[in-house]
Symmetry: C2
Subunit: 234 residues, 2 copies
């Protein structure tokens, strides 16, 4: 969030975004879709994680992706190779997706597909450990990635992301032997910010930990399916 020298405007901005996010979530609920908002620093491995996730789960779950990038469709093109709908949103100079952008993506998606046939929408946010955590897009749960290469102190220095996360993936654990990094300290710092977050260490290179991540994703979709359907959506 920028300091925009006007507290009232700042509150309006977040309030308008939240209303839009709630509206997007109502759409997802009506369609029986679980939406996960995937966030991290640039280069922590969001797209690699989604590649592995699509490869593993696309036959048991009907999945679509909303792919946020400032410019380019590089990540969207990587994910389209898995034969799932990928809606690319270029944020331009904006450092995060917001609910209005995602609403636009949802409407494009609903023009080309029947959303009621889908189980899961994965939103890949812009690489940024600060702002995406403050702007909901309509997700049911927030997934944050922290690479072991980023160091132990990041949960303390960028607290909002770690406080908001429902699931925290510690990525690139295959690199840990080559780093002077204290894995237990990373875990302790995450827990200090968020005692109840689900922590899953993974490597998309070796596959370690991915089955636990897939199982967490399944549990999220089941959760929504087992809940009562929402009948009144405007």
């Amino acid at each position: 969030m920028h300091q925009i020298f006007d507290a009232a405007l700042e509150i309006n901005l977040l309030h308008a975004n939240q209303e839009g996010a709630d509206h997007n979530r109502e759409h997802f609920d009506r369609w029986g879709i679980t939406c996960l908002n995937v966030m991290s620093s640039p280069g922590a491995g969001k797209t690699a994680l989604l590649e592995r996730t699509l490869a593993a789960l696309r036959r048991e779950l009907k999945i679509a992706v909303i792919e946020g990038d400032m410019t380019t469709e590089l990540d969207a093109e990587r994910l389209r190779q898995y034969q799932v709908p990928v809606i690319a949103i270029n944020t331009g100079r904006s450092c995060h997706l917001d609910s209005k952008m995602v609403s636009g993506g949802i409407h494009r998606f609903a023009q080309d597909y029947d959303p009621a046939e889908f189980d899961l929408v994965l939103v890949e946010n812009v690489g940024n450990l600060v702002c995406p955590a403050e702007f909901e897009v309509g997700e049911h749960a927030k997934v944050a990635l922290l690479s072991v290469t980023e160091g132990e102190d990041k949960p303390l220095k960028y607290p909002v992301m770690f406080q908001e996360a429902d699931c925290l993936l510690i990525t690139k654990i295959d690199l840990a032997p080559y780093l002077e990094v204290d894995f237990n300290q990373i875990m302790a710092n995450v827990r200090q910010m968020n005692p109840h977050v689900t922590i899953i260490p993974v490597s998309t290179k070796t596959g370690e930990g991915l089955e636990a991540w897939f199982e967490w994703v399944r549990s999220q979709t089941n959760k929504l399916r087992l809940a009562a359907p929402v009948s009144t959506v405007h």
Copy 2:
């Protein structure tokens, strides 16, 4: 930069920041100080680079640090061990330093020290590959870091930072053997965004490339010293 749904306000925000940055730079010029704004994703190694820089150069250059972090003084405390003045600025929820925050830091610095005795102010910005590049703080040059662990595509996906950088350090090159990363492609993508940027590959772990970085820092301070002094500052 957030989309703040009001183009005029956005322009005013950037304009006010730029005026403040120009004013800060006038102060630095009057004092004969070169100011470098050091920026990157979280965990690319800004603080480790500054530690090595202070250790190597603090005897030949009089250095102060302005240390931006959302919360905590963890990085400031690491750098204070090098017996240089470190002014800590907590940005709270803001995802970057701005010229007003740095102005506050400069005034705290000037209360405790005689700035005219200093040669170099290193500003460590909040870890964020997007917004810091748009908000000048009064620097004479922008230094961006990109870790090899972040992948080849980042210059294309986060263009503003790479277009704005005067010096681009490719960090953690000691990890390259353990990554499936194409170093030449990183270089090509940086050059595509910014044909004239100085690129210096470094490892703060092995020391590789650091002498070239120190030499670049020296060249920046010499540049300012050899320029005519500015006489009219308000």
